[in-house]
């Protein structure tokens, strides 16, 4: 057992964790017909429960972290997100089959039938309220709310973690500076979410579960929600230890673990390593390559992509310039995180633009 745990710890690195997530995501989209079968889903469920039981039984460290009271909601979240993902895909797949056969979605069959809210809906609400109340009561009776020692500025716990729902943002801090990871990206997430209804002009798929009719909307949204939010929360909880260093899920959090940081800025890569002429003293000149890269990414890339990819061409026609421009900008912003992650892992890139003089690092 010991060897299995060690092997998992060895295999799991930030890059491989990310890679496995993306593969799982791809498989989820690709094989949706398969895993939405109830029989298969039950197997998946047992697999997940088995993995957790296994981890809890054989790793004292994992058990300790997992049983912190404030980490219990994370399991609740993972399982409920999993279940409801299954439920929505299941209904989407069934509807897609019906639509392929020229039938309307299943919701259509009863959508014209109206029921009285009192008592039909109020009754369901009442039952749901009672069930939710009882669950909450039992949870509260079984599990004490955490209370650590009194607050003191004199001693900083290591690791210091934000509340669990913000761990995705805290993970972003590894790759981007606070002004981006803590301010600009969260703002863009919120703005981007708000913009969805104004960007998605696809009239189909309103009011019923479907996948095929809304692929272009669902895939990016779920990529953001699953890969850039939920899995990062899981990572931040179980695999970030003292000094925000990466640890395998079963690896003890060694306060003295030293991680070699040999990250290099883009300016140094180009001026020093490639051109071999040293860094210019003027910081605008020094960071010229970074500015070019970022400028190309945000301004040059969109027209290029649009010209090359027929799908985008088509989107532009449909959506008009303004909507399309916003869509592409938001999409590139979202892609900025995985791109920087990959660059970090591949070439140890630290900053693309690095002007610490005015706290302007990208």
């Amino acid at each position: 057992m010991h060897y299995i745990l060690d092997a998992i710890d060895f295999v799991l690195q930030p890059w491989s964790y990310f890679l496995f997530s993306v593969i799982a995501f791809w498989a989820m989209i690709k094989y949706r017909e398969k895993w939405t079968e109830p029989a298969f889903a039950v197997k998946l469920l047992w697999g997940a429960i088995g993995a957790i039981v296994f981890s809890m039984v054989y790793s004292v460290h994992f058990r300790e972290i997992a049983s912190l009271p404030d980490n219990v909601p994370i399991f609740l979240m993972v399982f409920s997100v999993g279940f409801f993902t299954w439920l929505s895909f299941r209904q989407g797949v069934l509807n897609d089959r019906r639509i392929a056969q020229g039938q309307p979605p299943i919701e259509k069959e009863t959508s014209d039938k109206k029921v009285y809210v009192w008592p039909d809906l109020v009754y369901i609400e009442f039952i749901a309220t009672v069930v939710a109340g009882v669950v909450l009561l039992i949870w509260s009776l079984c599990l004490h709310a955490p209370l650590e020692q009194a607050a003191t500025p004199a001693w900083t716990p290591n690791p210091s973690k934000a509340p669990w729902y913000f761990l995705g943002l805290q993970e972003m801090l590894v790759y981007y500076d606070p002004w981006l990871a803590g301010v600009v990206f969260p703002t863009l997430i919120i703005v981007g979410l708000m913009a969805i209804p104004y960007i998605d002009k696809n009239p189909k798929g309103a009011g019923y579960y479907t996948f095929n009719e809304r692929k272009l909307a669902i895939i990016p949204f779920l990529f953001g929600f699953f890969i850039l939010w939920v899995t990062l929360i899981f990572l931040g909880t179980f695999m970030r230890g003292p000094g925000w260093n990466f640890f395998g899920p079963y690896e003890n959090w060694d306060l003295h673990k030293v991680v070699v940081l040999n990250n290099v800025n883009l300016s140094e890569y180009i001026w020093v390593r490639i051109l071999g002429i040293g860094l210019p003293s003027n910081f605008l000149l020094r960071e010229i390559w970074g500015f070019l890269a970022v400028g190309f990414y945000l301004i040059g890339l969109p027209p290029l992509l649009t010209k090359k990819i027929p799908l985008l061409q088509e989107l532009l026609e449909k959506m008009g310039v303004v909507r399309y421009g916003i869509l592409i900008f938001l999409f590139l912003s979202m892609a900025a995180l995985p791109i920087k992650m990959v660059l970090r892992w591949l070439i140890n890139l630290k900053y693309i633009v690095a002007i610490p003089e005015i706290f302007f690092n990208i």
Binding site: E107, T110, S111, Y116, S160, P163, Q170
Partner: protein
């Protein structure tokens, strides 16, 4: 007069009214009618009136799509979020009676709550309810997305929903500080440190150093958005009272107002979504 009264009493006893008659007399008396406007019997008219004439039920339409009522469609997550909000309001108010938001009392009031109240689970219900609400709001949003329920005419209600998501996280975040233990203090320190890097408004943010008059930086550690948020250079007693008021009054009021608009628009936009 006395005779009349006696006669009246005799009459009442003579009739020996059945429980149904009493029920009917109440349900058709002036007091009941003035409160509920409609009778008790289960007729379609009264079903309609029950919703129309009650300020709480009238958040609902009178009738709803059968498909929209099903739990497999809505997952009940919007309702669950609302239920948890009400739950958190009630438990939060009860907790307030035992809590003083000052550095010397806050932590020990929480300890007292745990030590001196037999079977006291108010704080537990409040904390776990808060976590559950975050998850419920996410799942509600997930459902709305997967059913394309943000599409016209519901665009703006999705926007309000996004704001409500932010509000939910803010509520949870501001409440996180109040127990005033190490977990609270450092989680908030980590979370609020970001504010220092706000472009132009935080003193470690890009552009802040450009805002100066005659070489004097206007955005510095004692004047930036981070300072305004915490009421000081780091998480301290001034932060505690700020977060307390934000958590207990300001954010809940904003949340309740937005919820009212949210529910109102659900109705105005045609009720729970469904295929056309």
């Amino acid at each position: 007069m006395l005779d009349k009264l006696k006669k009246k009493i005799d009459e009442i006893f003579a009739q020996s009214p059945s429980p149904e008659a009493v029920k009917k007399a109440i349900a058709e008396g002036q007091v009941w009618k003035s409160i509920f406007r409609h009778g008790y019997p289960d007729t379609p008219r009264n079903r309609v009136m029950a919703v129309l004439s009650n300020v709480f039920l009238h958040l609902h339409p009178v009738k709803a799509r059968h498909s929209g009522v099903k739990m497999s469609y809505t997952w009940c997550m919007g309702g669950l979020s609302f239920f948890l909000f009400l739950n958190l309001t009630v438990t939060g108010i009860l907790l307030m009676f035992y809590y003083r938001p000052t550095a010397e009392y806050a932590y020990y009031d929480i300890v007292a709550l745990r030590e001196h109240v037999p079977l006291g689970i108010m704080r537990e219900i409040h904390r776990w309810g808060a976590h559950a609400m975050v998850i419920a709001v996410w799942l509600h949003m997930f459902r709305v997305f997967m059913t394309g329920s943000y599409k016209p005419p519901r665009e703006f209600n999705w926007v309000i929903g996004v704001i409500l998501l932010v509000i939910t996280l803010l509520l949870s975040f501001t409440g996180y500080l109040l127990p005033w233990d190490q977990l609270a203090m450092w989680a908030i320190t980590v979370g609020t440190n970001m504010a220092r890097a706000t472009p132009f408004m935080g003193y470690e943010g890009p552009g802040a150093s450009m805002i100066q008059i005659g070489g004097v930086h206007l955005v510095n550690g004692g004047s930036d958005i981070h300072f305004a948020l915490l009421g000081g250079h780091f998480v301290s007693e001034a932060t505690l009272i700020r977060f307390y008021v934000l958590h207990c009054v300001v954010v809940p009021i904003v949340a309740a107002t937005l919820m009212a608009i949210h529910f109102w628009r659900v109705r105005k936009d045609g009720g729970i979504s469904g295929p056309l």
